[in-house]
Amino acid sequence: MDTQVKLQAIIDNIEKVMIGKRHIAELSVVALLGQGHVLLEDVPGVGKTMMVRSLAKSVGATFKRIQFTPDLLPSDVLGVSIYNPKDMAFEFRPGPIMGNIVLADEINRTSPKTQAALLEGMEEAAVTVDGETIEIPKPFFVMATQNPIEYEGTYPLPEAQLDRFLLKLKMGYPDILDEIEVLRRAESTKPIETLTSVVSLEELIHLQQQVKEIHVDDLVKQYIVTLAQATREHPYVYLGASPRGSIALMKAAQAYTLLKGRTFVTPDDIQYLAPFVFSHRLILKPEARYDNVSAEDIVGRIVLNTAVPTRKSEAL
């Protein structure tokens, strides 16, 4: 099967369940292909879990879910060694992180210690329990959600940890026609039950390899870096996008390009992805909040004010 057809099939599959959220589906696939993780920020009930489950089903991956609570311990996430009297030895019981696709629900509800355990796992794709390092099966994809409304009893993620997420997405409410369609489908059966996988895990890993072959021209790299630089110099920004942010943007763009069936990244891809990659990496000055300017706005303005290199002679 052709690469693009496979990828489109995944997205179509998700869309069967998530009506009117094709772009979110696309971006989730981008993150999956780019071997990054996604932070979904939205209110409960808009289908965050459904999104992840449908993605997992579409690629035939194992799906795990961790509901974060304040009393959750790192071992509840990673797994624990238990003494087995029969074998007279400690036996490792893997935690919920040991899945291909993991939904970390309400990640900001748990203590920083537990958050750190999850994030370390995300970064390393391996966990260390009792001095033993255990690889997490590939592909490994975490979709964490956080609730933007409740602040009481939450532990906001530190900036360094937000940086670990490739993309930050906002689900948003479906529009009225889409919501009617959601009701219509939920009337009889649960649509998620009917989904079948359209690609195997091996194929997915292969696709992830293909992403790395997508060409990013120096001019495009120059554009990415110019945008990142601009975030660092913006008057409302206290801390701009790091070089890790630049790399993330490039990786995401490669994945997106593969999804779109091209062989090289264009500035259009960068412009489209920049808000999803950069906005959670910026720390704004208090003035920005007074002036009611969000990080997304700032990235949008930077994109509108940064020259796009369209000639070879413009290369630095």
Binding site: H215, D217, V220, F264, V265, T266, T306, A307, T310, R311
Partner: protein, 724 residues
Amino acid sequence: MRKSPTLHWASLLILYTLVFLMLYEWLGPISELTGTGHLPLITTFVILCFATNLITIWPAWCNTALKVGFVAFIVFYIHGNLTPSEIPVIFNEFITSVKALLTLHIDNVTDSARTFIFLVLLWMTIYLIHHWLTVRYSIFLFFFMTIFFLASIDTFTEYDATYPLIRVMCIGFFLVGMLFIEKVFVNHHMKPTLLRYIKLMVPLLLMIVVSSAFAYFMPKSEPAVDLPAPIEAINDWVNKQLSPTGKIGYVEDDTRLGGSFELDDTPVFDVWAKDAQYLRVDTKYVYTGKGWERKKGDIYVRSFDYDDRVPLSIKSGPSDDTDIMKINMHKQYQFLAQPYGLRKIESNDKDTNRFYVELDTEKIRPTVDEQRTTLTKYSMRYSPPTYKLSELNKTSMHELQNLDEDFDKYLQLPESLPRRVRALAREITKDETSVYDKTTAIESYFSVNGYRYSRSDVDYPEDNQDYVDQFLFDTKIGYCDNFSTAMVVMLRSQGIPARWVKGFSEGDVVDTNNKTTHFEVTNNNAHSWVEAYMPGVGWMQFEPTIGFSGFNQVEDDTRPENDTQLSAEEQAPEAEEEKEQQQEKPEPQQQEPQTDTSKADEQGITWWPWLVGFVVLVVAYGFWRTRKKWIPQYVKTRYASKSTVSIEQAYNDLLKVLAMYGLKKADSETLQQFAKRVDEKLGEHHMKAFVAQYERYIYDPSAKEVQWDKLKESWQYLINKVRG
């Protein structure tokens, strides 16, 4: 004038009133510094111009007609005294002015034309302001220019702009603020209600009042004591330019004497005569302390014809010994230049011409059908007067007591004349007895008492300073007006009737031919001297100015045996001077015989530079207008002949052509965004196709081999489309 649909008439009225006040701050100093008169009339015109922008009850052409009519009225009123017969004169002046403008002889532009141009400029300025106010909602440029103008004239001229600056600042801030409020209303599609105006205007007014008061009462640093040298130089230059009589030459208005002169060798007329001599134009006798005025009230004239005896108060020499003088005028002067001892004006073919002498000034004016005119060529018969020394020695101060009361006016002095002037005159003349000796004592006083002749280092007197007093005691530097006025005033203070004479000195010798010499008289020769009344002898001319040859009119009959010797001695310095003058004669004049000048006159205007300029302009405009046609065509043909094409260059050229069509790529626009925009405008999807290939070329190194052939079709389509 376009009616503005967005501004309420009341706010327009306020805006116009404010802008009028600001514009008025220009008119004041302009009038004061350049001596432009009739400020109330000009102000009325400005108000009329503003008012016609407000009034929209009749069609726009009525407004235009109204303004044109008013301009005509002002010109007619100022320069024609509302006499209908002056209309052709003014009309002629306009024609000569247009010629003068075309030949770049700006000095020859007549006053009436200057007034007209000034009014038209005002009209245009007001239209511009109208545009700024009602279309652009921005008056900042005018505000800034006003401040700059006032600050400049405050720095570089005597005009004190302290209060005007404060006024303009307040007016300007209010204007800018009010326009901003209007702009806010327009941009946010708000209905401008009175309440909203008040809500916004009151804080604005308060802010302006408070900040202005604060600024006014706060202590300020003193100005720098010394202006830097370059600014000082500008200062001098501006003062020179702005002086009402900044350039030398014959002017009618002598009410405010002083200031420096620039040399100007524009020819005024040519003279053919036997000897070098001064040419008189008119006299004045009312001294104000600042300058000379003409008597107010009715002017009596005495008219005479060709070949009549010219009625002048100066006596002439014997009738059997007359010379002839021919004058060829270059400037449009409505008077004649008279040699001393003028007897009659020789008739020429134009029998329609008559003349009159203004009795108070002795100015001779030629007329045609009772209307003043310009006489360009005329010849006069004259006999230079001579005075016998023996008679002059007999002139006594007693005889002056018995003079007719007509002579009182020649003794007039302002009450403000400082005492020390009289004291000085008494001191100079106390050792002399005869009127003539007293007069010559004053005449020669300046040459030996440290006075210096200069045209450039002369200031205007202070407001409370007498013009003569300033020269005699403070500056001791001056030119003919200073010397001659000082002498007249000193003579009068001693009871000797005297008047001030204006005219031209002898001019430069162009060539000599048997008995007649050709002199060229330029603006540099404009001069003033003195006539004093010698009882029993009559009016006699004197030359107090240092460095001028003066008059050779006195026949020493007291010592007959020494007569020849003396006169030779007397003449010696003059002869030398004349020689010098002849040596100094500029050579170009010799190469340029007189016929040349007359030829140039006949040819009039040199048309070809104007014609060439016009053609160039028309052609350039044509190219500019049709650029959308020929630039794409040019680009296309250039590419058609190319064997190898740089794709990037082709892209650049395409962007340029599209930009000309109004499709300019923004820097932050990606290729695809731009392509979408272009295709929406031009139809079809050629830009998208072009960009798809170009993107491969630019961002994908594996596609190095992108061929021009693939791009060519879309590229050509786009260029053709733009060509229309």
